[in-house]
């Protein structure tokens, strides 16, 4: 699909917008609809659109598979680590009240951290899945 000019131009325009929207959904999730899971999938769909238009090889140069493997594991680790951090600060597992002096601030910090973790895991895993299938198809 590399030679279809319209697709290429539209994709180039849309991909940054989709990524920006993913970040908005990620960090605005506390205030409006949305959250980390949705943000992760939207971010992944930007990368997948890039792959569909520019080909698997090009996208793998932009987003190496090694990053995705690390990202998927790191996101889960951040989530679990937030729980352990709460434990170390004297609360229960995943009890964000213990993360800061003020319980509400602790809740904010905890939610921000675990949403980061979920977003990272979901985005990396989705892209990794599609990459794996696409590569399998090519062989």
């Amino acid at each position: 699909m590399r030679d279809v000019v319209i697709l290429r131009v539209v994709a180039k325009f849309l991909i940054p917008v989709i990524m920006l929207f993913a970040l908005y959904v990620q960090f605005h999730g506390e205030l409006g609809p949305g959250g980390a899971f949705q943000a992760g999938v939207i971010l992944a769909s930007a990368v997948i659109l890039h792959m569909l238009v520019f080909g698997l090889e090009t996208t793998r140069r932009v987003v190496p598979v090694a990053w995705l493997r690390v990202g998927a594991a790191l996101g889960t680790l951040v989530y679990g680590g937030t729980g352990v951090a709460a434990l170390l600060r004297g609360g229960n597992y995943l009890d964000y009240d213990a993360l800061a002096v003020d319980p509400v601030a602790g809740q904010h910090l905890g939610i921000l951290l675990i949403e980061l973790g979920v977003g990272l895991t979901v985005a990396s895993t989705m892209v990794l899945l599609v990459f794996t299938f696409a590569e399998r198809t090519r062989r």
Partner: protein, 164 residues
């Protein structure tokens, strides 16, 4: 409803995937109408977006048209009976939106009234998912991670000597 029937009856798999995606989009619109934008978001992004791409990629491994097979009556009977039992079960459910329903009396009022003070996050869905039900969401994240890891290990990973 129509789209689901088409998916069940058509033998052109490419068309089935397209209609399936449209079905997801309609479902997303339905969730939006029912004031559940969080769910609608997910349905649109996952159902209509990513899973369509995955199914299209999987379709490249198999022929485009399903082979016409023998009509199987037993599975049809099982499905119809199960569906009838489920519909019969819904008759016992309380009417939608009634304030006295069990679902509105259990933990929901506490979440709705206290989350502003305890969590300080305007979106109650977020505070329930991320804080009150943090363990469930942790499990979800691990499920996603494990699924990705499984697929990658089964069909994606190459042994060291196969590296190009």
């Amino acid at each position: 409803m129509l789209t689901a029937l088409y998916v069940a009856l058509s033998r052109d798999l490419l068309a089935v995937i397209m209609v399936f995606s449209a079905n997801s989009l309609l479902a997303a619109g339905m969730f939006m109408v029912m004031d559940a934008p969080d769910v609608g978001f997910t349905e649109a992004a996952v159902g209509a977006g990513v899973s369509t791409i995955l199914m299209l990629l999987a379709l490249r491994h198999c022929p485009r048209h399903e082979r016409p097979g023998r009509r199987q009556w037993l599975p049809l009977a099982v499905v119809v009976v199960t569906g009838a039992v489920l519909v019969y079960g819904t008759m016992d459910l309380p009417p939608v939106g009634e304030p006295g329903n069990p679902i509105h009396l259990h933990v929901a009022p506490r979440y709705l009234q206290e989350s502003g003070r305890e969590i300080g996050v305007p979106n109650v869905v977020t505070s329930v998912l991320a804080s009150y039900r943090g363990f469930d969401t942790l499990g979800e994240a691990i499920v996603v991670f494990t699924a990705g890891l499984g697929v990658w290990l089964l069909i994606g990973a190459r042994r060291r000597d196969e590296e190009p």
